[in-house]
């Protein structure tokens, strides 16, 4: 056994010093040297003509096939490969945690590798659920066979979990590769997942469902648009994350539809867009939601709808209120037009700063503004998936 162990180490190392092979064996160097010497001509001592400690013995394997043949004598090879894999549960949990954790990775390259790692583990789990038992790397996440099998799965909780995993993995792959999934499909998935939320128990799966929401909205986030437009979508995405999961999943479909149907996906180029005047003299307008938070309380307005939930509100306001909102919006737009910031977080932080300045002009608005500012800064700190990488 000892001799076999030494010769196996020799086969693994091929060319080595006595000291090097000794750490791969449980014997001391003199015994190892004797074993090597007795294994000639398959193993031979090398005359030292290269760097090394003086007196250090060097050996090499001269006949690898012969050595292996000797090592295998008396052993039988198992043609079936390794024992059945019982790591599916651990792999799936790891894939889920990696997919959830990717959004916090600042490096795009590392995020790409992390997504691929999670997808590899997920494919290995999914391969065992398919009747055709394909090699795991052949599992198509968008394939009909997988879709069909997951729909037929006898356990609805497992089916819901795997479907969510597949959807998030596809979106994450698309995010890092710049290959979007059709919005209509995302809307259909959002509706489906809304119905399966009760089956998604535990913090990890709820986090994964939020990851789906985040990735879906990231796909439609403008990247090269003016700062105002990026701001509005960034705020809408982050406010959706703040909702409870059920409400967020319910609102996801309409939000995706809005983001996708607006020309060039830009929801708004102004933070105050007048829509006309009503017969009673009041104004209808679409306004950036946070401006309403710094409106003096004596100015009246009524919400009508939310064209972009969490970010844009359609209101009816008295003339003084609409004047005030319009002025604040122009100030904010002017500031954003010269924004040196590229990141969404920095843009939101910039807005928090400008809103504070605007509120300071009006006595009595400090407390209200502090709250708005704190909420905006908390939004800025939230970690979200970035917009998809440009397609390579």
């Amino acid at each position: 056994m000892t001799a076999d162990q030494v010769l196996a180490a020799a086969a693994a190392l091929r060319e080595f010093s006595l000291e090097e092979i000794a750490v791969f064996c449980d014997e001391q160097p003199p015994v190892i040297a004797d074993i090597l010497a007795s294994a000639g001509p398959a193993v031979e001592r090398v005359e030292q003509d290269h760097e090394g400690e003086p007196g250090e013995q060097h050996w090499r394997v001269a006949d690898l096939a012969g050595l292996r043949s000797a090592l295998r004598r008396g052993t039988t090879r198992d043609p079936a490969g390794p024992a059945p894999d019982e790591t599916a549960g651990a792999r799936l949990e790891y894939a889920e945690e990696t997919l959830v954790g990717c959004e916090a990775e600042p490096s795009a390259e590392r995020r790409r590798v992390m997504v691929a790692t999670a997808v590899n583990h997920l494919r290995q789990v999914l391969a065992t659920t398919l009747p055709s038992r394909p090699p795991w790397w052949m599992v198509e996440l968008a394939g009909d066979e997988l879709e069909h099998e997951l729909r037929q799965h006898p356990d609805p909780a497992i089916a819901a979990r795997l479907q969510l995993n597949v959807a998030v993995a596809r979106l994450a792959e698309g995010n890092v590769a710049g290959i979007p999934i059709p919005t209509s499909e995302l809307i259909e998935r959002a509706t489906h997942f809304h119905g399966t939320i009760p089956l998604l128990g535990g913090q990890r799966l709820q986090g994964l469902a939020r990851g789906f929401i985040d990735l879906a909205t990231a796909q439609l986030a403008p990247t090269a648009a003016p700062a105002v437009d990026r701001l509005v979508v960034a705020v809408a995405r982050r406010r959706l994350r703040e909702c409870d999961l059920d409400a967020a999943m319910q609102r996801l479909g309409p939000l995706l539809r809005t983001l996708d149907t607006v020309p060039d996906r830009i929801p708004c180029q102004d933070l105050y867009q007048p829509l006309g005047q009503l017969p009673d003299g009041s104004d209808r307008a679409i306004v950036y939601a946070d401006l309403l938070q710094i409106l003096p309380p004596d100015l009246r307005w009524q919400p009508q709808s939310e064209p972009l939930p969490g970010a844009l509100v359609e209101i009816v306001a008295e003339l003084a209120a609409s004047d005030y909102l319009s002025r604040c919006a122009r100030t904010l737009e002017a500031d954003l037009a010269h924004s040196p910031f590229y990141s969404d977080s920095a843009l939101i932080g910039q807005v928090a700063h400008v809103l504070q300045e605007l509120a300071q002009r009006d006595a009595g608005m400090h407390a209200q503004c502090d709250t708005t500012r704190s909420k905006l800064l908390a939004l800025a700190k939230a970690t979200v998936w970035p917009a998809p990488a440009p397609r390579s």
């Binding site: 086969a11 590392r110 583990h121």
Partner: protein
Amino acid sequence: MPAPCPYTGLEPGMWRNLLARAAIFHATRTKLSEFCDHVDQGGVVQYALQDLAMRARECAARDVDDATTVNLVVEAWDVRLTETLSLDQLDAESRELLAELQVLARCASGDDPFREIFAGITALASTLYGDAWRSATLGVAHIRRHPRAVLDPYGVTATTPWPPADAGAEVELHIHCDEFGPAAFAALPMLLTHECICHVPARQDRASNDSMFAEGLLDWVAYVFHERWAVKLDRELAPAARWHAEVLRTLLSQHTDTPEGRARRVGHRAAENLRAWFESDCDQAPDESRMTVARLAVQLNKLERPLVDKDHFVSLLGWPLPPPLTDALRAWESRELGADALLDVAVRSA
């Protein structure tokens, strides 16, 4: 005059308490496995262990040096063992074991057994890693809770804080004083081998307790080397060290509800898949394949590359192994490709 505690942050009284017991476990190491078995069964040997813990606590509170503390504990325990051995109703097996422990314990010294185990492991690990080895020092600390939620006899854990200091890495041994028994002592070589194989020489950007490379694949390799090194480290402790390493391995692999547990389970599986592939595709003999996996993992650990890249490599080791990777592995196995280039192939597939 008491010597100061050799470990920063560990109270002298706590140090002497741990040292006294470790010194006695070290002195009785040839009987450590039987000691553990009897403790597990309860009864008089378990009482003897509890008594040892009590004597150690009492003597450690005195302001004396390490050697005197150990002597005092040995003497006090000796008296209690003599009393126990005088009992008429003692079963023969327990009597024999306690008598042997009593004789062996009398040889206990005040030398630091933690440092001795660590020095042996670092000497072997530094040879394995060569120029990539990072010097390492040992720290010992006391923890107030068992390291795992489910109690087991291994109330000890080890960690290597990341990033290492310029002067080198510090391996911290965390011992739950109340649970420090013979099984925990016997598991120390494995715990420290894990740190020295997986973490001390690691070249990467960050540390992560859910890394399937660092906590999984490399942990499997650490077990391979522990198996090889156990006798070299301490021939008399080797049987108990090997046995408790395997028990600990089984126990930790069951903890799949923790990131480390998952990483261990999947990483060990990846190592076994890789072994099977080397045997089936490269015609390697069983023990050769085990060492080839170990050699590859050590080479990868030396590479100054992001940990996510190394974790990605592990993610590709699902059975059967995918073709781009097998081509690269074949080239690495035949020395046509370095580990760096192999990792490049793995990451390019991402």
